[in-house]
Amino acid sequence: MRLLFLILGFLFSLPAHALAPVQEVKSSSGVTAWLIEDHTNPIVSLHFSFRGGAALDPVGKEGLARLASATMDEGAGKWDSQAFQSRLEALSITLRFEAGMDNFNGRVLTLRENMDAAMDMLKTALMHPRFDGEPVERMRSQILADLRQRQEDPATLGTLALYKSVLGFHPYGRGSKGTITGIQNVSREDLAHFVKTRLGKDNLVIGVSGDITAQALQKLLDETFGSLPDKAAAWQLPEASLTLNKKTQVISKPIPQSSIMMVQGGIDRHHEDFYPAYVLNYMLGGGGFASRLYEEVREKRGLVYSVYSYLVNYDKAALWLVGAGTQNARVKETLGVVREEWQKALESGFSAEEVADAKTYLTGSFPLRFKSSDRIASILAGMQRDRLPIDFLETRNQQVEAVSVEDVNRVAKSLLTPDKLKAVVVGQPEGLPF
């Protein structure tokens, strides 16, 4: 591939005329889903999230949510692990759970004809997971193997170190994948307690797309999610306060290419300047082959294969990250160019033409995200997780359109902090730290 594309998408848009409108479907037991009907192919995709994710893992049990996500589909109700998995395979049903930092997520993808069976299995996994000894230990050892393997990956090491230095003892500071000790400490009782206390209807959002009507969905919502507890156990996550500085931390590893990660403060998803900041990030480093970092660091100087920036929005923290990788001898130069671009953007801002081009990309590329039923359902769940309005798909482009060059340059001045752009380098960089 010409570029390893690492941008994290977090904004969605769509031409109002392209797909059916978003319907809000409410079941009698109070479960709500957002639905886009699409009868092109005989399949249905359902994505859901419970608020509260890996950040709520107790200290000493980091990885609890992740181990729960790996074991809830390994045996439930009358099916043991092999029976459950065999049935999924025989019916070509994809059913998975996944722990994010702020949410516990799941998805079901199925042929329309197997929809009832798929939802029945989901319900059983949510309500009656077995947590039998064999699958729990098997999943534990697989996660431990993955955590060991992650220690081989320089970019992962860099990101973890960066999070720790910026977020300190806030739960976000330990990442969302768990730790070796934490995973070893999670008991079967912890898993059962997790399911009983964390999965409540008050914390649930659902997105659905595919070959299903609102009426049919309403009934399935009741049958599948209706008997969950009304409320999950209360929890609270503190606001994160970021510790930022211009220091460069080096983690020494015997590799030919250093992995560079940098961070500064981001912007809240609901801040009035969010869209100017979003356009700003696109122009600076978020725009794939069209950003200033790409142009200066890769095209002109050949310093890297990949360089990118992205905004990260957690419920209680907002970050702005930069990533790059270059041979050890050129790390200093690469860091210098990135810092220079940061400073230049702060001081001189962007031209009207650059802003106009960014806006045509950001508004014009919207339908590209709606590639499949599965993507559409995922987007609908994501909108609710981010507390966006149901007409977001129609209004999002107007918000991008409304951004002016003055907005962008004003926000660049207030948001960019090159004097607090923290860097972590993993590798054997020459002449660092300085």
Partner: protein
């Protein structure tokens, strides 16, 4: 290209008369093949041009040139400045990229349907009008060397895979990594690059694939206008050295202090769609075998090594028939903490010998066939998949009919076909075993 196969498998769920992707095709006067797959969900199109040239077509000593080209195609032409291609696509709300394999190089853009003419015009322009200079190729050479460091040299598993290929293939260019050897990349000259471009980039060596919200009535005049006017290039012959028989089992061991989770793999040369002349069912039979042995939670190797014997954290088998020349079949596993590699290897070999001795069962084959059939519906739901599958297949010389009849071919396979194919591949072959180990691992 495992991805390709899995998806190819999909189509069985549709009524036979509906075909797999139902592509429409024609050929321009200059020899360029054109394929359309309609998909009207959103007003978007995926536009791809595939060139029938990959790393295995490189001249000796010039490794990396095919992939270098993939990067250089985004540089200046007579009409556009370097980097402008991607900027114009982005300005128009589109996305673009490219990729290279042993057997082909492909370029693609995803854009709103009313921008199809624009991307075609630019793609046709760079098919013949690329103008390379020292100023352009030198920074890009550094970018490619960084790409190689990032993908291979920074990753012990990728380094092992590269070394395995060098002993798996003794004579065939599949022994050379697609990205090339660093010392040869450094030595490629402007003349080398221009010669390669003139030799391979021409309409008669290219396939145009468009998937999305467009009709043949709209596509045909656009294709004729932008690509039809380009003159035919020279006739191209893909000269591929053949592989001699191996006379020894080979072991490749990569020990590295970075490795925290060891793993092992064992590879066998296997036929591809193109090379399986004596037994034309073999590639389909081996695809079914892959599904049975596989990596899924209920596959044989996972059930035995991970669940029952508790020796491995993961285990499986992979095979892809989508190659111009021969392919390979790979068994792999990664040990549980505290399990030695010797014990794991012995257990894996036992699984292979049981497979050789007893073969697969009727039920296993039927289940695999059904699973491959159902996957088809999901593939059809994803814009871009059809273009990827059809492009990859045509670039190695398969016909549209062969792609469309894939489900029939899979359904026609019997237990005997699978057992015959697996015995031919697994029996008495000189294999390659690769071990990835930390400094302390045994």
């Amino acid at each position: 290209m495992r991805y390709l196969l899995v998806i190819l498998g999909l189509l069985l769920a549709f009524p036979v008369s509906a075909g797999v992707f139902n592509p429409k095709t024609f050929t321009l006067d200059n020899g360029m093949e054109v394929v359309l797959i309609e998909n009207n969900r959103v007003p978007v199109v995926r536009h791809m041009v595939w060139y029938k040239v990959g790393s295995a077509d490189e001249p000796a000593g010039k490794s990396g040139i095919a992939h270098y080209f993939e990067h250089l195609m985004f540089k200046a032409t007579k009409k556009l400045a370097a980097g402008e291609f991607s900027k114009i696509v982005a300005k128009n709300g589109g996305q673009d990229n490219a990729f290279t394999s042993y057997d082909y190089t492909a370029y693609y853009q995803t854009v709103a349907k009313d921008r199809l003419g624009l991307v075609m015009e630019m793609e046709a322009d760079r098919m013949t009008n690329l103008s390379l200079t020292k100023e352009v190729i030198e920074p890009e050479r550094q970018v490619i060397l960084e790409e190689r460091r990032q993908r291979t040299d920074n990753n012990p598993g990728a380094q092992l895979r590269e070394q395995i290929d060098t002993v798996q293939y003794m004579n065939h260019p599949y022994r050379i990594p697609v990205i090339g050897w660093a010392h040869e990349i450094k030595a490629l000259s402007l003349e080398d690059l221009n010669r390669f471009y003139k030799a391979w980039y021409a309409p008669n060596n290219a396939i145009l694939i468009v998937e999305g919200d467009v009709s043949m009535a709209e596509l045909k005049p656009l294709a004729e206008k932008h690509y039809g006017s380009i003159p035919r290039g020279p006739e191209m012959i893909r000269l591929r050295p053949t592989e001699p028989p191996a006379h020894a089992d080979r072991r490749v061991i990569k020990r590295d202090q970075r490795v925290r989770q060891p793993s092992l793999q064992r590879t066998y040369l296997a036929p591809s769609y193109r090379t399986s002349t004596e037994d034309d069912k073999a590639p389909y039979a081996l695809e079914i075998l892959e599904n049975i042995m596989g990596g899924a939670a209920t596959s044989r190797l996972y059930t035995s090594l991970v669940i029952d014997q508790k020796l491995a954290v993961s285990a499986g088998m992979s095979y892809s028939p989508s190659r111009l020349d021969m392919s390979e079949l790979t068994f792999w596993a990664s040990p549980q903490a505290g399990v030695s590699m010797a014990v794991l290897e012995e257990a894996l070999l036992k699984e292979i010998s049981v497979l050789l001795e007893k073969g697969v069962s009727f039920d296993e084959v039927a289940r695999a066939q059904k699973s491959l059939v159902n996957d088809a519906v999901f593939a059809r739901d994803n814009l871009g998949t059809a273009a990827q599958v059809i492009g990859g297949a045509m670039a190695i010389g398969l016909s549209v009919d062969q792609i469309e009849s894939w489900p029939d071919a899979i359904q026609a396979i019997t237990v005997e076909d699978v057992n015959r194919a697996l015995r031919t591949v697994l029996k008495d072959q000189k294999t390659v075993t690769g071990l990835l180990l930390g400094l302390e691992d045994k």
